[in-house]
Every structure is written in structure tokens, then in C-alpha cells.
Symmetry: C2
């Protein structure tokens, strides 16, 4: 067996230090972004900045009144920020009620199992030891659930704050050049990425250490209580993603259909009443929602790994360093991402539009390559050369290099998924160009090609995920899969940075349009945005891939806990579970799509009403009523996120209670394998359509040719 | 245990008699259809018919030259028929080569297992008995494989022949009234349904009896050799569906995009060069392809049930009547369907458009109700009150009423699937009306609502299938599932009749348009066609539902034969199989959709070329070059059906050889559960879009209102 090289004390210092370094780095980036001043009135406070500011004016915007532009940008920004904040607060109110109810349920459920016993009891996995009483477990689980939910909320909220802080600044910087704008958007993405990764790690670490004060050497109880953290995070993620997603898509579809298709005004035109709602949507859906989502996956995979470790030799031997292996991976991940970020912001400079996508791609490659070394280092330092891992009741002997392979394969599978996603959603490659080309023959071929592209893009990611599962499972059972998921998420700070960069650029373009800035600015932000669509798809690819692995790890944890030794497809209970489970993602998608559709219809009617009843709106004399559109999106998403959320939360409960754990196992496995496919294909179809539209725009601008424009409006919306 | 009431001799007589009655009934229907004369020149041969014919002229077509119209219809019909025949022959040539190769492979594979031994060997399931040598099994399996493939070809081909025989006759009858036209189209559908059901049963029955001459009392070997029949049928079905499907959709999309969208000429306008290819496509795809498909499911489920029965107490005790239970169910099914058909053709008369859909629905209900009695009768007469069924190595005791429930639940699940499909795809209900309504806001909301509708329509059918699996499996293991599939398919003759009726009506409308007949005729055929779209979706629902059950039964047979006792989701081999298997339907769909897309692009270019280069084409002075369009569809579908076909055929071989039977089990289960969902949702989305288009047409005609017409063209094509 042997012991780890890294001492327990070093581990206890290393993890919080890395987390704090991450937070500090995020704050430095934030302060760099904030150097771009939005309010020319306050110029007196900083003479340097004023001079700097005048520079751009001379370069780019000679014909326009600088004061007006900056003020307009600031106004639009604050409108977007207010809309996003107000939506998130409304959402959090509703979700908060739900979370409290769910927390009480968890407490009652876990507590009642042993009749709220306050007496110590024999441990589940080591019956010869004494573990803490059920009441304590119920309390601590509930606390960690709330902690997870709150951290998820904070992650999403901070992301939204920095995004709405950065959008107008990106617009203003775009006047200086595409490189400057890119840096602002990317730095802001990095703020979100590092805050989320570091906060998630720090809160988890602190919780573990505080819980340990009570639990002492009952590691089994401690880490089982900690799993609440993951559950809290992913429950919030569910509502954040669904609510934010309905919001953003309803606003987007509504704004485009009336504005672009019917009224023939440009995207993000300030005359469009839904334009603020559209830009708010990017922030609450693609930033806050996605942040909550990735935090959920991250928390779940950490907790899944920790709980398996606690009943493996690490936990049994009280080997703290080895036990904290998942946290150490995340800690090194923060440092690796920090170095990677410098490559984009400081070591190289973006000078032309065509350098943006390669720069973002380089981020993925650099972080993966460095992280491989990081994982090797952590594995060598933190793990004994050989140990045992809990494997459905038995203990499996694992070598440290085997665990390295598990993590590394997850990491590299993430890179492969990222590249495949990029290939299928970037307009630099033939798939998207084919989709764009198919618009020559109308919307129908566009729909066919787009859906086919999404279906096709599933193939390689599934093989990559299957590879992770095979390696992870073969070497280290469910622990291997959990750490493979962690490997994929270890570069989460970089992944989130390039992911959040997209909606920020999107917003920046919107602000440029609304502030009436020159078309050259809009072209630059569009170029940033096209790269952003691809990176957003990459981010979704990571989220889906890691979610698949995490779900499997959790599934394994569930099966272990439910004391099922086999889930045999050949039994009717399991098979009907499998087929019904495979149906659930369709049910869920039908609900959310229908919600988006009806909310979009309402939005369209409201926008039409405003165009028809507000005199002078089309001519630009009158201001539209943005607030009503924001309210429609808000109300629709709040109302509509309940049923899909309930479906996801209640199905396991209902199936488990009525049909038993075997059928439930089938349902979980079925929805997992079917959901991954729908998720990847839908995400890539959407990304491809979006970029096909941008590609057509590019070709049109350069050739003044004729490509069916009516296809453009539709591509955006799926 | 006890014996069956029905004697072996009675069984031996009953089955072929029912089959022959079915064939005779089909021929009677055919002769009734042929009474409608297409060629006015030959009027002299039948004075009655001439008088009858003149009647319609007075009623409906006073302004038009009757001779011209009938001649035109006959010309168009023969063009369609020639196109379809030539395509099918080309297809069969290619598939024939493949089938021979596959037959040789089967022979070599089965023969080589025991080194082409000519010595008798101990039986697999009853080692104390002696079974026929491996060489004989290889030969007979190959023979039954070829028989199955040939029967499938004949089923599809005959269906196409009657459909292309009936289409123009339906058009001509539409001049007399919608009821008359309905009867012709429905009778022709019945010809196909009864020929297919009866032929399938008869060939299988004869093969069993011929094989028995050699096999004697080695029932295990006999029925294992017979499984080749199912494999042959479903292999052909694969190519028939894929090839025909690519053909019809490429032609359809190509014709509509240029004709309706760009040139603004009506659907099926004779000036459109792709119009013949479009009508040919209905016959080779929706008639021949679907016929092969349902025959495949029917043959597979019969064979799966027979092979399980042969190693159960029926086979062991040489109880012929009980053994033939699956065939007896199908026999009674033919009689039940015969009675049901009379309700539509003779007992009641369709007088108005709005009676069509209820009449077809009544067919489903009547056949299901009667069949329930039929199943009860067969179960009571043919089965001993108690018997044992092979269940993964063990023998499970089953009561005859339990088996009745298995079959009945399959039958009624089919009805439920039918009704749900009708609800989601008929324009009489809110889902399709909502989709039509969403076109007000453009193509985008239409796509969103259409896809959401398809996803939602999966829910109830999946619960119905899950119910069948649960009942079937709980009562009689894999045999229960196989007979549940047979129950669903027992009313196949009626199912096929209402299914084939759709494309015939579609063709009839096309011929009316091309022959320049009055709009009142076209309106009648459109009404028939709208009902046909719904019934086609119902037919697909049946096909998918039964295919799911059959696949599961075959999966069970495979697992039994491969001596796997559990397929545990918790092992990495199975789980990666599951997730990769769930991906395969996406891969397959991506291939076929891409094929349709590229073939449609070629078609569009050709149609555009003809419109641009043939002078006087738009004005109707010149005839387009139909043959080139037919050739494009033919070449594309022949070429493009190979890769998806290869994917389906080779995956099991490759996975099995490289990764072993456990992974293969996972792959099969994964693709089964994922494929069902995609199939149901895609089929219903397509049906709903198609009928939403027709609904918009109806509303437009009645209100002269304004609903986004551009959405119409696209809805047709998915």
C-alpha cells in the first residue's frame, strides 16, 4: 500500500491556497475590465483614462459624439443589468421556496429512516465501527444541500453581474480594435470561470473541515452528509438552466420574428421592444444558467468521488491526502487554468478577426496539455502507489497510475468533445457551410441538414464518453468514472471563460446596434459573437459529457446504496424502466420547447402590438416599452420551469416508491443514455444553425449575392 | 397439463384454409377495383360499364372531354407504374446481390460452427435427444432466409402493383363522389393487406411442413432453421424502407421546393419535372417499403414465438396445435380482418368527407374488438390449460388465460398507439391545429411546435409498449413478448389496408392535378389524402410498436442462444454498449437524412435547370423531362441505401466479434430503447406537419384569410 508523498498538512494548506489564488486572479481580471470607463462624466477622476479614452475617439468614431455614445452604452447596460437582476431575484424567490421545501423533505426523509435517532449506530459499510446518529446525518446533509444551492446561486449571479458589467465595455473597446474587445470579453469570462471554480472548491473544502469538527473519524458519515452539496448544486442548476433557457429563447424568437422577419429591421435594433429582453436572456440563460449547470456537475462529481473514496481504503485508513485527491485535482486545475488564461490575455495578442477562434482553441489545448502534467503530479504526490476502491460491496485493488489514466482519459475526452463540437458548429468547416448552402433551396433542406448535422455530431462524443466509462470503470469502478468526470471538469475555469465570452460578445453587439454605433463596430462584435457561438456549443459539450459521466457515477452510488448487485436488462422491471427512462428526455424536451413556443407567441403578439399602437416607433421617434417584454419573458419562464423541473425531481420518487428500485435503476440508465444523445444533437444543431446564419451574413456582405434570407430568421431560434 | 381441444389435423387444415381465404378475398377486391375502366376505347367490350361511365360524365365533368381525361389518367398511371416497377427492379437487383452474399455468409457461418458436420448431434436444449447435423441446419436456414427475402419482395411488389393500378381509378371514381373514390382506394389497400398477411402465413406454413419431412421430430432444429425466414424478411425490409424512403422524400422535397415555393405552381402540377418521381416515390416508399417492413416484423415475431415454443413444453411434447399457436392467431386475424373490411366497403357507405376518418378509425376499433374474441377462441381451442415456456434456461409454468392476456395486451396496445398517433397527427385535434396556428409567426415557431409535438407523442405509446413488455414478460417470458407483438400485428391486413389507402389517395390527387381535372375532384382527393396522412402515421405507429416488441423478443432469443444469463447495466462492457447503442439510431438517421438532403438538392437543381432551359415549360406548351428526375431519385436512393444498411447489418457482427456478446447485448438494448423514441417522434412530427399544411389549406380556402404560406412548403418534407 504505502503512503502518499504529500503530507496531510500540505494538503490542508494547498487546497485553500489554490482556491484563494483563483479568487484573487478573478478579482484582478475584474479590476482590469473595470479600467474601461463607461461614464465620461467622471473623467476628472482619472486623467490617464481620459487621455486614453480620447485616443479611441480619434481612431474610430470621429463623426459621433463620444459623450452620447458612452452614455447610451451605459444606459443600455444598466437596463440589461436591471432586467437580469430582477429576473434572477424573481427566479431565486420561487426556487428558494422550493429549496426550503426540498431541504425540509431531505431532513425529514433522512431523519425518519432511523426515527430521528440521536444514538450512534454501526456504520453501513464497516459495521464494526460506530457512526454518528441519523439525526446528525440528516441535519448535516440538509446544511450541505443548502450550501450547495446557495453556492450555485452565487456562482450564477456573480457570472451575470460580471457579464452585464463587461458587455458595454466590450462594445466601447471594439472601437479600438477587435483584439481589445476580445480581451475585455475574455477577461470577464475568466472572472466568472475562476470565481465559480474557486468558490465551489473553497466552500466544499470549508464545509468538509467544519463538518469534521463534529464527525471526527466517522468519514463515512461525513462524506455522505457532504453529498447534499452536490444535490443542492444540481437542483439549482436544473431550474437555472430551464428557467433561463425559456427566458432567453422566448425573447430571442419573439424579437427576431417580428423585428427581422416582419419589420425588416436589424437584429438588436433599439426600436424592437423585445431587444432588451433578448439581451437580458443571454445573461440569465447562457451565463447564469450555464454557470449553475457546470457548478452542479462539478459539485456532483466531487461529491460522488469523495463518498466512494470514504468507503474505500482512503477513508478506512484515514488517509486525508488521498481522500482529498478529487479536491487536489480541482486545485491544480485552477493553477493550470490561470497559466492558460495568461496565454490568451498577456502572452499573445489578437490582431485580426480570424485569430479569435484559433486563440480560443489554443486555450483548450494548452489547458489540457498542462493539466495532464498537473494530474500526473497530483497522482504521484497524493496517492499511495496501490490502494483499494469500493466496488459494489467488494474492494478492488487499484494502482496510482491507473487512477491517473482514469482522470487523464476524462480530460482528453473533454478535449475531443470540444474539438468535435467546434468542427460541427464553427462556420470555418464544411458541416456548417453545407447547412448554410442548403438554405439556397429553402427552409426545408436547412431543417433537414441541420437536424442531420446534430445527429451526426453525436457519434464521436459518444465514443469518447464510452471510452471514459470503459477506462474509468475497468480500473477503478464507479470511483474511476467520478474522477474521469472531474478530469473533464478540471479545466472548468478555462472552459467557462471561453463559454461566458460568447454571450458577452453577443450583448456587446446588441449594445453597439442599440447605441447607434457604426457598422464597423458591429462587424467586429459579430466576429466575436460567431466565435462565441462555437465556444458556447463547446461549453455545452463539456457540460453534457461531464454530466453523463457524473450521472453514471451517481447512478453507481445509488445502486450501491440501494444494495442492488445487478441491474439486469433481461428482467421486465428493468427493461420497462429502460424504455420509459429513454422516453423521459423527450417528454422533458417537449415541455420546454412548448414553453418556449408559447412564450415566444406571447412575445410576438406584444411586439406586434407595440409596433402597431405606439406612434413613431418604427421611425425612431418614440421609445418602445421594453419592460413589458421583459415581464413576459420573466413570467413565462418562472411559470413554465415548474413542470419540467417537477418531472425531473418527482420521477425518481414516484418510480422508486411505486415500482421499486430495480425499475428505477432502469429508468435512470435509460434516461441517461437517451438524454445524452438528445442533448448533444440539439445543442450542436442549434449552434450550427446560428453560425450558418452568421456565415450567410458574411458571404452576403462579401458577395452581395442572394441566399434565401428567410432561412436566417429561423436558424437562430433552435 | 392437458391437451388442446383442436386436433392436429384440424390445425393442419385451418391454417392453409384461412390463408387461401385471405388470398381469395384479396383477388375479389382486386377484381372489384378493376371494374373501374381506365380506357374508354375499350368501352365496346362492356356495355354496362359504358353506361355506368356515362353517368359520371353527366354528373360531374360536363365541360371536359371524357375520352381525353381517361386517356390522360391512363397515361399518367402507366408512367408512374413504369417508374415504380423500374425502380423496384433496380433496387431488387442490388439487394439481390447482397442477399445472395448474405445467404452464403449465413450458410458458411452456421455450417462452419460444427465444421460442416454431416453427423447428427445432441440437441442444444435437450442434450438427451439427437438433432439433425449442422450442415442440414445451415442449408435449411439459408433456404428459409431466401424464402423470407423473396416473400418480402413479393409482398412489396404486389402492393406497389395494386397501388399503381388503383391510383388513376380512384381519381376517376372521385368524379362520382368522395364515397366511391374512398371505396376504390380502400379496396386496393385491402388487396395489399390481405395478400401480404395471407402470403406470409402460407409460405411460412408450407416451409414448416416441407422442412418437417426432413426434420421429423427434431422440432428444435426445424424451428431454428425457420428463423431464417424472419431474418430474410427483415433484411429486405431494411433496404426497402431505406431505399424507398430516400426515393420518395428526395422527389417530394425536390418537387415542392422548386414547384410550389419558387415557381408558385400547385402541388402535382404536370409542368413540374419531378412530379412523376414524386408520385412514384409514394408507391415505392410508402407502399412497397412499408409492406416489406410490416412483413418483416410479422415474420420475425412469428419465428421468434415459434423458436421459443419449440424448446418449451409444446415442442418437447410434440404438441403440434399448441406449437402452431402463433400461426393460428394470424389465421384468425385474416378472418377477423375480412369481416372488418366488409364494414368499410359493404355494410356502410361513405357519403361525406368528414365520414372518412371516423370510418377508418372504426376499422381499427372493430378489428381489435373482434380479434379479442378471436384470440380468446384460439387460446381456448389450441392451448392446453397449463404448459411450460422456456425462460432463459429454466421452464416457466404458464396458464392458457395468461397467454391470452399477453396477446390481447399487445393487440390493445396497438389500438392505443393508433389512437394516440391519430390524435397527434390528425388535423381534427388541437395538436396539429396548434402547429398550424404557430405558422402565423413563421417557420421557426412551426419547427419548434412540430418537434415538440413529436416528442410529446412518444409518451403514451412508450407506456403502452412498456405495458406489453411487462405483461408479456411476467406471464410468459420472451414468448409472451413475441406473442404480444403478434397480437399487435394480428390485424395487420386491416392495418395495411388503411395504411396503403393513404399513398393511393395521394397519387389519385396527383393524377387529378396532372390530368387537368376540375378543382372539385382535387378537393375530394385532398380530403382522402388528409385522412391518409393520419392513417399512414397510424401504420407507422403499429410498425414501430410491433418492431420494438419483436426486437425485444429477438434480443431475448439472442441472449438465450448466446447463453448469457444476465445483461448487467452495472458492468462497463454492457453500459458502454448501451450508450453506444443508443447513439446508433442517431447515426442511422443522420445518414438517411443527409442522403435525402443531397438527393433533394440534386433534384432541385435538375428541376430548376429544366424550368430555365426548356422553352414553354412554364406556359404548358412543352413537356418536362420526367425520366431524368426519376433517374436522379433512383440512383440516389440505390447508392445511399448502402451505408445505412451496412451500419445496421455490420454493427452486430463487428461489436460481437471485437467486444463480445455482453457489449453486443448492451448495444442491442440501447439502440432498441433509443430507436423507438426517435422513430415515433419523427414519424408523428412528419405526419403532423403534413396535416398542418392541409389544415392551413382548408382554412385558407374557407376563410380566404392570411396564414404564412411559406411555412407550408417546408412542413411537407420531414
Amino acid at each position: 500500500m504505502g503512503a502518499a508523498i504529500l503530507s496531510d498538512l500540505a494538503t490542508e494548506i494547498l487546497i485553500p491556497v489554490c482556491a484563494v489564488v483563483g479568487i484573487a486572479f478573478a478579482l484582478v481580471q475584474w479590476s482590469l475590465v473595470s479600467r474601461v470607463k463607461l461614464s465620461p462624466e467622471r473623467q476628472t477622476s482619472s486623467n490617464n483614462s481620459k487621455n486614453g479614452y480620447n485616443d479611441y475617439l480619434i481612431e474610430e468614431e470621429e463623426g459621433l459624439n463620444d459623450h452620447n455614445v458612452a452614455t447610451k452604452c451605459a444606459d443600455i447596460q444598466s437596463a440589461i443589468s436591471e432586467g437580469a437582476t430582477s429576473f434572477l431575484f424573481t427566479e431565486y424567490q420561487y426556487v428558494g421556496v422550493f429549496m426550503v421545501a426540498f431541504a425540509i423533505l431531505i431532513f425529514l426523509f433522512l431523519g425518519s429512516v432511523e426515527g430521528f435517532s440521536t444514538k450512534s449506530q454501526p456504520c453501513t459499510y464497516s459495521p464494526d465501527k460506530t457512526c454518528k446518529p441519523a439525526l446528525a446525518n440528516a441535519i448535516f446533509s440538509t446544511v450541505s444541500f443548502i450550501l450547495g444551492a446557495v453556492t450555485s446561486v452565487i456562482s450564477g449571479f456573480l457570472g451575470m453581474k460580471i457579464a452585464t458589467f463587461a458587455n458595454a465595455r466590450t462594445t466601447l473597446e471594439a472601437r479600438k480594435g477587435v483584439g481589445k474587445a476580445f480581451i475585455v470579453a475574455f477577461r470577464s469570462g475568466a472572472v466568472m470561470g475562476f470565481l465559480l471554480a474557486a468558490n465551489g472548491l473553497l466552500v466544499l473544502y470549508i464545509a468538509i473541515n467544519l463538518f469534521k469538527l463534529y464527525y471526527g473519524d466517522d468519514w463515512e458519515g461525513l462524506f455522505e452528509a457532504i453529498t447534499g452539496y452536490g444535490l443542492g448544486g444540481s437542483s439549482m442548476a436544473l431550474f437555472g438552466r430551464v428557467g433561463g433557457g425559456i427566458y432567453t429563447k422566448a425573447a430571442d424568437v419573439g424579437a427576431d420574428l417580428v423585428g427581422k422577419v416582419e419589420r425588416n429591421i436589424p437584429e438588436d435594433d433599439p426600436r424592437n421592444p423585445a431587444v432588451i429582453a433578448d439581451n437580458v436572456g443571454d445573461n440569465v440563460g447562457d451565463i447564469a444558467g450555464m454557470g449553475s449547470d457546470l457548478f452542479g456537475s462539478y459539485a456532483e462529481s466531487s461529491c460522488a468521488a469523495l463518498v466512494v473514496a470514504s468507503i474505500s481504503s482512503f477513508g478506512i485508513n484515514h488517509d486525508l491526502t488521498a481522500m482529498c485527491y478529487p479536491l487536489l485535482i480541482s486545485s491544480i486545475g485552477i493553477i493550470v487554468c490561470l497559466i492558460t488564461t495568461l496565454f490568451a490575455t498577456d502572452f499573445f495578442e489578437i490582431k485580426a478577426v480570424k485569430e479569435i477562434e484559433p486563440a480560443l482553441k489554443k486555450q483548450l489545448v494548452i489547458s489540457t496539455a498542462l493539466m495532464t502534467v498537473g494530474i500526473a503530479l497530483v497522482t504521484w504526490l497524493a496517492l499511495p502507489s496501490s490502494f483499494t476502491i469500493f466496488n459494489f460491496g467488494a474492494q478492488k485493488v487499484v494502482k496510482n497510475w491507473e487512477l491517473f489514466l482514469c482522470v487523464a482519459v476524462g480530460l482528453w475526452a473533454g478535449l475531443i468533445i470540444g474539438f468535435v463540437t467546434e468542427y460541427y458548429t464553427s462556420n470555418a468547416y464544411s458541416p456548417v457551410q453545407d447547412v448554410a448552402d442548403s438554405c439556397r433551396t429553402g427552409a426545408a433542406t436547412n431543417v433537414i441538414f441541420g437536424l442531420a448535422l446534430g445527429y451526426k455530431s453525436v457519434i464521436i462524443p459518444i465514443f469518447a464518453i464510452a471510452g471514459c466509462i470503459f477506462v474509468g470503470f475497468s480500473f477503478a469502478a464507479m470511483y474511476g468514472i467520478a474522477v474521469a468526470a472531474l478530469g473533464m471538469l478540471s479545466t472548468i475555469a478555462t472552459g467557462l471563460a471561453i463559454d461566458a465570452y460568447g454571450p458577452i460578445s453577443d450583448n456587446a453587439g446588441g449594445i453597439a446596434e442599440m447605441a447607434g454605433m457604426s457598422h464597423r463596430i458591429r462587424e467586429r462584435t459579430d466576429a466575436l459573437d460567431a466565435a462565441g457561438n462555437t465556444t458556447a456549443a463547446i461549453g455545452k459539450g463539456f457540460a453534457i459529457g461531464s454530466a453523463a459521466l457524473v450521472s453514471l457515477a451517481l447512478f453507481g452510488a445509488f445502486v450501491s446504496r440501494a444494495s442492488i448487485s445487478t441491474v439486469d436488462v433481461l428482467t421486465p422491471k428493468v427493461f420497462i424502466g429502460l424504455i420509459v427512462g429513454a422516453m423521459l428526455p423527450y417528454w422533458f424536451s417537449a415541455m420546454t420547447m412548448k414553453s418556449v413556443g408559447s412564450a415566444a407567441l406571447k412575445m410576438v403578439e406584444e411586439v406586434r402590438r407595440q409596433f402597431n399602437t405606439i406612434p413613431g416607433l418604427m421611425e425612431g421617434h418614440a421609445k418602445p416599452d421594453y419592460a413589458t417584454c421583459v415581464k413576459i419573458s420573466t413570467d413565462a419562464s418562472i411559470k413554465e420551469m415548474i413542470p419540467p423541473g417537477a418531472l425531473v425531481m418527482l420521477t425518481p420518487l414516484i418510480v422508486g416508491v411505486i415500482f421499486g428500485v430495480e425499475t428505477l435503476s432502469g429508468v435512470l440508465a435509460g434516461s441517461l443514455v437517451s438524454g445524452v444523445q438528445i442533448a448533444i444533437s440539439a445543442s450542436n444543431t442549434g449552434g450550427a444553425w446560428d453560425n450558418a446564419k452568421k456565415y450567410i451574413g458574411l458571404v452576403l456582405r462579401s458577395m452581395q449575392g442572394h441566399l434565401a434570407p428567410k432561412a436566417q430568421s429561423r436558424t437562430r431560434q433552435l
